[in-house]
Symmetry: C2
Subunit: 326 residues, 2 copies
Amino acid sequence: MSVTASSPAKIILFGEHFVVYGEPALATAIDKRAYVSADLRSDERIYVSSADLGISGYFLNESFQADCGGPEARAKLEPVRIAAQRILNLAKKKGGVNVKVRSSIPVAAGLGSSAAVAAAAASSIGQLLGVEVSRDDIFQAALEAERFVHGTPSGIDPAIATYGGVLLYYKGKGHTCLKVEGDLPLVVGDTGIKRSTGEMVAQVRKMKKRYPSILNPLIKAGGRIALCAVEALKRGDLNTLGELMNINHAMLSAVGVSNEPLDRLVHAARRAGALGAKLTGAGGGGCIIALSHPEKLGQIVEEIEREGGKAFVARKTNLGVNIERP
Amino acid sequence: MSVTASSPAKIILFGEHFVVYGEPALATAIDKRAYVSADLRSDERIYVSSADLGISGYFLNESFQADCGGPEARAKLEPVRIAAQRILNLAKKKGGVNVKVRSSIPVAAGLGSSAAVAAAAASSIGQLLGVEVSRDDIFQAALEAERFVHGTPSGIDPAIATYGGVLLYYKGKGHTCLKVEGDLPLVVGDTGIKRSTGEMVAQVRKMKKRYPSILNPLIKAGGRIALCAVEALKRGDLNTLGELMNINHAMLSAVGVSNEPLDRLVHAARRAGALGAKLTGAGGGGCIIALSHPEKLGQIVEEIEREGGKAFVARKTNLGVNIERP
């Protein structure tokens, strides 16, 4: 018997980077999902495979044996193993599961792919073993997996992967789920440029140290954007949300995390009729998001692709981690 | 006998728009100048001509008679007449001068062309009439001319046109001349897009009213940039000045006054090796400036022109309004 669970990708709507300094960030789950199927093995090993990445391997205690992708595959499979292990420990079971990952979430693009995979893995294994696993258990499993990936993750990705919907997040104070009715029609545009979140965070920290009198009020202003956005979201006021995205993008540029490829996609989206557009996540590469009335989503996708990006339409989803009916 | 005076163009280095809300702005005179020659007429009329604009006409009391350019020419010639009139009044003379303008300053590009012409006109007429005209008289004459053009001008343009050099300016509190040694190698890139300063200022005011919790700390941060820049200028620290320009550009984007053409020129300059680049002046069109080590100025000019802008090298000058030796 195999059990499949899925978990959503996330995008940060407002407040990335400023969240590091205690300001609120606003994130939403979107309708791109990671799917993880789990079934029992006859031995004690944990087998993890990712069809999309073309890698797989066997974990047993501290050892790893590659199946596809060689020893380098370990780093990418390890977070799944960590989440799986946590649930196996909860179930007081030593191992013996196959964990198969399929995902439509672009990886290393700031969309929370690894947290979604980890949350779905934790959920599917819990269900498979018939052990009672709460959403908080799944969140903790995904968070532990994220710690392996990011060192000190903000916790936004595991929270979105687990609970879905829109979250207002304060570092160290956790998240608040927001009841948001109505559609949030977005386009995600990927520059295709890989970047390191850690490096971008370090770069902002360095700038803040160098120009505290400039960066401190700027970061404060950044936090206010997320709070204004919450009000606009509650009203379903897309025009205001778009304008706030434009302001937020410029403020991320001010702290040095935008660049020409990101700005080009942002302008492409605006040119095609977006209500607003901004980089999302760490910056320095990765993705932008554009907010739009539904009828213009197609044009925005086209214009971003003409500018050299990869684009897809994304919509807010309230569905967090979920057991898929067979 | 004809007397010629010249006056420099200005660029705002830091703090445009934020200066409206009490924050400091930093501006410099550059080595593009307006030249005005004055000679006596046998009647009481004031004849003003601009070879570059191809317009000219006669003023007598409140009447205007076009020579070239038709009645529309009046609005462009009137500021020169106002400055001239002020000096004629000082000299207790009723009129009777020819005022001929030649200028290498692009017009309506935020470079203070009209103030430079007015200051040079005031100076040349004072000298022609042999009346003692102080620099403050010239500043006041240029300021009065600016009031005709802009309604409520900041006073930066007349101050730079008169005194030259680098000025730190607070609205309503006047300016401080800064002693700045060393070169400040800049490229000015013109989008060629005309914009209205008044409209851009009104647009920012509207945004501030709409999002006070965001814009107030942002404007404060904007003011800090000019103060950090003063310190860097005194040290001759071009790298820091460049970085501050990048931050300033992004903060002007945040208040909504940048756009795609400006961003394109800014990125072109950075791509070609500028230490930093920003829009200068009101935004929405007009010019950008880029700071550079001297050896890269040529590349930056080329890259801006490749991107569709018009570009020229500009250097700080300490020479304010000046009587040209014949």
